[in-house]
């Protein structure tokens, strides 16, 4: 008995210590940014490391971001980010992380911005700031050819209950968050959703017949359907939404810089050019 009390005490002490570390870490960060501002008051510090713009993404989301045939990162987001960095006079550095880790990392200052075909949602807005929209994303439904499912309504029985189906999604994407929600909120309930680490895994599971449909952004959906025979995208999409870049709430200078860069890129027609290069209508 005594021993277990001691163990509990040690664990409690560990948690407190960790908590303190986290809290202190946060404070130290604030301190340095404040110093940085006062030292070069004329020129606000744009990024954590001078001259480098660190972009967090999840490079398994073609055509927005993926690893190209030559092993380098490629895609709409990557090219747009390259131009933004150029406009801001910074060197672009790409970090490939899990989609769910992007916002947390941007918030803590680990990454300067997150750009991963990310949809603007109210929940995400509470944690980070979003730039102007640079693309419109559509959540599409992929099924096997000849499937009984012809639209989102076919997931439900006549009485409004969800059929015995399983939908595959990429974990933490908007498709996951919407689908896992309750039926009243426009989803199908989490017991009908299987979350995979990448969109590709979800599509492989569909091919194997483990899930009945995959809900994912339209552009990657097209790529997946083009390389996997026997799949088709339903004509009626699940939702439409806007993609934007996320930046830490404490870094408005960078947000302004990105918005200015996006505005001038739009005016020059560069964004349409890049999107047109990857997406053939």
């Amino acid at each position: 008995m005594k021993k277990s009390i001691r163990i509990i005490a040690v664990i409690a002490a560990l948690i407190l210590a960790l908590g303190c570390l986290a809290a202190c870490g946060g404070k130290a960060d604030n301190g340095t940014t404040a110093n940085g501002n006062s030292e070069s008051a004329a020129e606000a510090k744009l990024t954590a490391t001078d001259g480098v713009l660190v972009m967090a993404t999840n490079a398994s989301f073609p055509p927005y971001e993926f690893v190209g045939d030559d092993g380098a990162y490629a895609g709409i987001d990557v090219e747009i980010a390259g131009l933004i960095a150029e406009k801001l006079g910074l060197k672009l550095e790409i970090q490939d992380v899990e989609f769910g880790s992007i916002i947390g990392g941007v918030q803590s200052g680990k990454f300067d911005m997150g750009m991963a075909g990310m949809t603007v949602t109210d929940e995400r807005k509470e944690s980070v700031n979003f730039s102007e929209t640079y693309a419109i994303g559509v959540q599409s439904i992929i099924v096997k050819e000849g499937s009984d499912i012809k639209s989102f309504d076919d997931f439900f029985n006549a009485d409004g209950s969800v059929k015995d189906i399983m939908i595959g999604v990429q974990q933490d994407t908007t498709g996951d968050i919407y689908c896992s929600d309750t039926v009243e909120n426009g989803g199908v309930g989490e017991e009908h959703v299987t979350q995979f680490k990448t969109g590709n895994d979800a599509v492989q599971a569909l091919v194997a017949g483990k899930v009945d449909a995959v809900i994912i952004d339209n552009e990657p959906a097209k790529s997946y359907v083009s390389v996997n025979e026997g799949l088709t995208i339903l004509e009626t999409a699940y939702t439409e939404e806007e993609y934007a870049i996320c930046v830490s709430k404490s870094n408005t200078a960078l947000l302004d810089g990105i918005n200015d860069a996006l505005a001038s890129l739009k005016a020059e027609g560069k964004i349409d050019e890049i999107v047109g290069k990857y997406i053939t209508k």
Binding site: I7, I11, I15, L18, G19, A22, A23, F99, G100, S101, I103, G104, Q107, S108, E123, R124, S127, V128, M166, G168, Q171, D172, D176, I177, T194, Q195, F196, K197, D201, Q204, A205, A208, G209, K210
Partner: protein, 244 residues
Amino acid sequence: MKEWFADLADQFRLNFITGDRWTWLLDGFKMTLVITFFATLLGIAIGVVIATIRSSYDKNKESMKKKGGFGYRLLSFLNSICGLYLTVIRGTPVVVQLLIMYFIIFASSTNSTMVAVISFGINSGAYVAEIFRGGIMSVDKGQFEAGRSLGFNYIQTMIYIVIPQMFKIVLPMLCNEFIVLIKETSIAGYVGIRDLTKAGDLIRGRTFSAFMPLIAVALIYLAVVIIFTKLVKRLERRLRNSEH
């Protein structure tokens, strides 16, 4: 400090109370236990069979070789199959094995929990087999000879004399293997299973905070391992009674 605690309480509410997110952790925990339990059973079953074959071969190959015949050839064939199994399973990462099981071997199965149980069980079986074999080989040869001289046949000697002693020797290592296994199941999320780690991940993906969900998940694993270790210690103590 007061602010810090208030912040902590907010974080706690956001991560666990809002939207009943704690139920995800609970369901995930149950899933982790289910997978670990059945994978352990399967692992022990596989381990016993393989250890029996391997140690029978090691102990008897000299005498059987002289006699030759079908028995010897069968045993050495089974022994090499077991050797192949051990090489492949211990030579590849368990994540890769899980993905191969899920996407290739059991591609048509929709029961992903079962696929996970089978792959973790097969993986664990390789390690358990070597633990058992080590246990059987470490029981003194004299014990075996004594059993035979008392009139037990080979199987009886194994069941009544060698295996009970072996069990005591392998218990700490078996416990170790279980501890490894329960934490290894944390990769089940790769194939879309909502285990404890995945539940924490899902909370993290929705609240965008790392601290609470990760620490909570870590503490739950830690608690299970501490409790389990205690139970095994008690069992070990009871088994030691026979030594006096």
